[in-house]
Symmetry: C2
Subunit: 249 residues, 2 copies
Amino acid sequence: MRRLLLTLQYDGTRYHGWQVQPNGVTVQETLQDAVERVTGVRSGITGCSRTDAGVHAEMFCCLTETSTRIPDGKLIKALNANLPGDIAVIGCREVGPEFHPRYSAAGKQYIYRIWNGPAPNPFWRGYALQRELPLDTGSMNATASLFLGTHDFSAFCSSGSSVEDKVRTVSVSRVERQGDLVTYTVEADGFLYNMVRIFVGTLLDVESGRLSRETVAEALTTGNRVQAGATAPACGLYLSRVFYPEDVF
Amino acid sequence: MRRLLLTLQYDGTRYHGWQVQPNGVTVQETLQDAVERVTGVRSGITGCSRTDAGVHAEMFCCLTETSTRIPDGKLIKALNANLPGDIAVIGCREVGPEFHPRYSAAGKQYIYRIWNGPAPNPFWRGYALQRELPLDTGSMNATASLFLGTHDFSAFCSSGSSVEDKVRTVSVSRVERQGDLVTYTVEADGFLYNMVRIFVGTLLDVESGRLSRETVAEALTTGNRVQAGATAPACGLYLSRVFYPEDVF
């Protein structure tokens, strides 16, 4: 059997997230359908993370095992020919028996986009949160920098998570503006359930005055969810990079 | 009555073009609905051009007359609150009795986007034509430059047009690449029915070898539609600017 690491991009708008579930079409299931049509065999596919309904991926990594002899390049084309236009396979490489798309990852990068123009932008509908009131990226960065370092992020995790250890290390947490588009970039060794969306909700709640920066700083020690901000909508969130150490392949 | 020039942006994916028609929802009709909800009166709206089903607009200009006293800035917000997210009003200014959104225009700029990467891009689905085979922008520009100047563009016009004078002056006709995105920009004093889409189809047909550049040059004198290329899909096309001389307002 060949163990193939597939790299995907997807527009998550139409999907109930990555993971197969009974009540909606998911990216995993749609990819399994395409693999089955191309190879004739329905295979399990393991993803690098779960993404929520409506969340997008500029780079999502997943592993499947297959006995097909179709070469990697041709397999990419065949899968894309069998996938809907909102999911694309952009890479395929064979990996060794030790590789696991989730456990081998050293970290991930997420990007959250906010359209912050004087009027809504139809082309960012579904692809960015739209905020009309001008955002001050200097002030947002002062809040964003609080997340840097190693903390227990219990306050920044939605309930329903089964993860016990909520300590993560955030290495990048930065807000940038290009014209009317405000982008939040965050990298960490791992992310809790809804962590990035709560980071963004917190940045926005500080800007609107609903939360003080001092309360947010406290949340990092108390672990109290109510001291952090709201969960920002899924549509602005993109899984943008997955980092693997070169030796895990 | 106030004569208001409204500037719009819209994602044309869901619409049967600009102009009201019996068999589908149009941008014009959707805007008329919003104006009626805001002002209480259903008004006629005159557009700067007809755009086809699926064509987008980064800048579309239209005129409506209204007796509402709502100030321009508030009217923009009220209209946007009553429009679906794929149409936005981005500008509103009062204009004089001589102004006509179509006849006062000195010219327009269209942009056509082609995703030319090794794999499809889910985020450009519906917003660009997707072409896998590498496009040579140098060669495309050699074809694109043929369109420059004043010509009878009969060969680059779909049948069904009622326009008699098919002479237009093209002032910009240029192909550029940024990474995997190839953009064709064209400016002219006016455009015939499907003219930009046929320009793009012609550029692509020359690249694929279906047409020679000599045949295309000939089409500019013969006016023979079969010497020009196919009509490229609507999804890559954007009306991007409308030029008005400052004194027409």
